[in-house]
Amino acid sequence: MNEKNNSLLVYTLIYFGFLYIPVLFLPIFSFNDANYMSFPLAGFTTDHYEEMWSKRNLHKALWASVKVGVVASVVSTAIALLAAKAFVRYKFRGQNVSYGAIMMPFLIPEIILAVSILIIWINLGFPLGLVPVTIGHILFCTPFAMLILIARIEGFDFSLEEASRDLGENAWGTFYRVSLPLYLPGIIAALLLSFIISFDEFILAFFLSGSDATLPMYMWNQMRFVKKLPHVLALGAVIIVFTTFIVLLAFWLRNVGQGKEKQDIAIKL
C-alpha cells in the first residue's frame, strides 16, 4: 500500500502516549521533593534514592529476587530449549496437545497456579519460602522461553547437526560445537526475558514466599504506607530502567544474524 493514512498515524501516536505516559510518572515523581504525587512538582531531589539505598530489607529482597530469577531462568530455558527443538524438528503424534499443555501456564489465571501450588506444598509439609516461588516461576517462565526459542530455531538447518553426527562427533560434542553456537543468541534472549519475568512476578511470590520477600513483595508491603511511597517510586524507577535495558538487549540478541524481519513471539494458540 503506497498511500498514507494520517488519521491512523495520529491515532497510533496517541495510543503510544497511552502506553508510555502512565509508566513515566514513576521516574518523574521519584525526583519530586514531596511525599504526595501531585502537580505542580515541588522541586528536584535525590533524597528518595538515598533513602531507598539505606533500606536493609530492600537489599535482602533484591538478593532474594536475583537468586530466584537466576535459578528460574536457567532451569526454564533448559527445559524450553529441549521442548522447542522437539516442536521445530519433529512431526509427532499429539504435537498440538503437548504444545497446548506446555503453553497452559501462560493462559491459566496465575492465582489458580499459585493456590494449587500452595495447597500441595503445605500439605507435603514443606515450609513456604523462596523454593516454592522458584518452582512456580520455572513453570511460569517455560512457555515464554519456549516461544522465544521456537521463533529463533525455526528455519534452523538441522542437517548441520546430522552432518556432525555422521562425521563421528558424539551427541554432546555436536550440541556443544554445532547447535549451541547457533542457538546461543536465542538462548541468551530466553534467559534474559525469563529472568525479567521472574524478577517482576508478583502473584506466585505473594502466595508462596511466606516471610522471604522478593522485590515485588517488598514493594507491595511498602505501598500501604503513604510515607514510604517515595522510596518505592525511586525503586520502581530503577527497576523500570533496568528492565527496559535487559529487554532491549534480549530483543537485539534475538534478531542478531536474522536477516529478515522475524515475527515477534508468534502466538500460536
Binding site: 505542580p40 503424534r93 491459566i108
Partner: protein, 294 residues
C-alpha cells in the same frame, strides 16, 4: 536390550520428540496438573477449624458458593469486567496494528518492540502508576484542581470498576497487539487489491476481506486477555477498593485471613470452569462465523 532401544530411538520421530519434551511435560504434570487436581479434591472437603480439615467428600462447598450472593456477584462482576477490558483492548489496539501492518514501511520491528516494551516492566508497577494518576491527590485531580476546573478532588476516579477497567486495558494491551499484528501482517495484500479492483468500497473491503482474515489474531487476543484478567488480583486490590473488588480478592482471603481453603479451592475451580466454558463458546462461534464469511 540397549541396542534395541537405540534402534527404536533412531527410527521413531515420536520417541525422539517425546524424550526432548519429557522435562517440559514432567514440569507441567508435577507443578500444574497434579496441584490443580489436588485443588479440585480440596474443594470437596470441609474446613472444621483453623488447622483442621474434614476430608469426607461433599459438594457442600459448591452449594456454599452459590448460596453466598457476594461470591456469585463477584464472579459475574469479574467476568463482566474482563469482557469489557477484552473488548476495549481489541477495539483500541486493532487500528494500531492495522497501521503498522499496512502503512509502516521501514523498521516495523522497531515499532513493534516499542509497542510491547512497557509490557515487560513490572505488572505491579504499571498498576501502581495508575494509582498515582487516579488517586485523590493524584496527577489527574491535582492538575484539574490547579487549573481551577474542579474545586474538590474527584473521588470516583479511584476505587471503582471504571478505574479497574482502565488499568487492566493498559496493562494487557501488549497481549492484544502481538496476535493482532501477526495475523494482519500475514494477509496477502493481493486479496485486498483484488477486492478493490472488483469495485468494493473501502468499508466493504475491510469487512469482507481484511477483518475475516485477521480473525485468528482476534481469537488469540480474546483468549490471552479474557482468561487471565478474570482471575486478576493485583489491579482490583490496588485500584478497585470495595466497588471494584473481583473474585480473586475473595479467593485470596479464603486462603489467607478467612482460612477456608476448601471454599477457596471451590471458588477457584468455579472461576476456571466459567472462563473455560465462555472461551470455548466464543472461539467456537467465531470459527463458525469465519467459515460462513469465507
Amino acid at each position: 536390550m540397549f541396542q534395541a532401544w537405540r534402534n527404536l530411538y533412531s527410527k521413531s520421530d515420536n520417541v525422539k520428540a517425546y524424550s526432548l519434551l519429557s522435562p517440559a511435560l514432567f514440569l507441567i504434570i508435577l507443578v500444574m496438573l497434579i496441584p490443580m487436581a489436588l485443588m479440585l479434591s480440596f474443594s470437596s472437603f470441609t474446613q472444621v477449624s483453623m488447622m483442621e480439615i474434614d476430608f469426607t467428600p461433599t459438594v457442600q462447598r459448591y452449594i456454599d458458593f452459590f448460596e453466598k450472593s457476594l461470591l456469585v456477584s463477584l464472579l459475574i462482576k469479574s467476568v463482566k469486567i474482563s469482557f469489557i477490558v477484552t473488548l476495549i483492548t481489541l477495539l483500541t489496539a486493532y487500528p494500531v496494528c492495522y497501521y503498522i501492518a499496512f502503512y509502516v514501511k521501514k523498521n516495523k520491528m522497531l515499532w513493534l518492540v516499542l509497542l510491547t516494551l512497557p509490557f515487560w516492566t513490572s505488572y505491579l508497577l504499571r498498576v501502581f502508576s495508575w494509582k498515582i494518576i487516579l488517586g485523590t491527590k493524584g496527577v489527574f485531580n491535582s492538575t484539574l484542581l490547579g487549573a481551577g476546573i474542579i474545586s474538590e478532588p474527584l473521588t470516583f476516579l479511584m476505587y471503582s470498576e471504571e478505574a479497574v477497567i482502565i488499568t487492566l486495558t493498559h496493562a494487557w494491551a501488549a497481549f492484544a497487539l502481538l496476535p493482532l499484528y501477526v495475523s494482519l501482517e500475514k494477509i496477502d495484500f493481493s486479496y485486498i487489491e483484488a477486492a478493490r479492483d472488483l469495485g468494493l468500497s473501502k468499508f466493504e473491503v475491510f469487512w469482507k476481506v481484511t477483518f475475516p482474515l485477521s480473525l485468528p489474531g482476534v481469537i488469540g487476543a480474546i483468549l490471552i486477555i479474557f482468561i487471565p484478567t478474570v482471575g486478576d488480583y493485583v489491579t482490583p486490590a490496588l485500584i478497585g477498593g470495595t466497588e471494584g473488588r473481583m473474585l480473586s480478592n475473595m479467593i485470596q482471603a479464603y486462603f489467607g485471613k478467612i482460612n477456608n481453603i476448601p471454599l477457596g479451592a471451590a471458588s477457584a475451580t468455579i472461576m476456571l470452569t466459567t472462563v473455560i466454558l465462555i472461551t470455548a463458546i466464543v472461539s467456537y462461534t467465531t470459527k463458525r462465523l469465519t467459515q460462513r464469511l469465507s
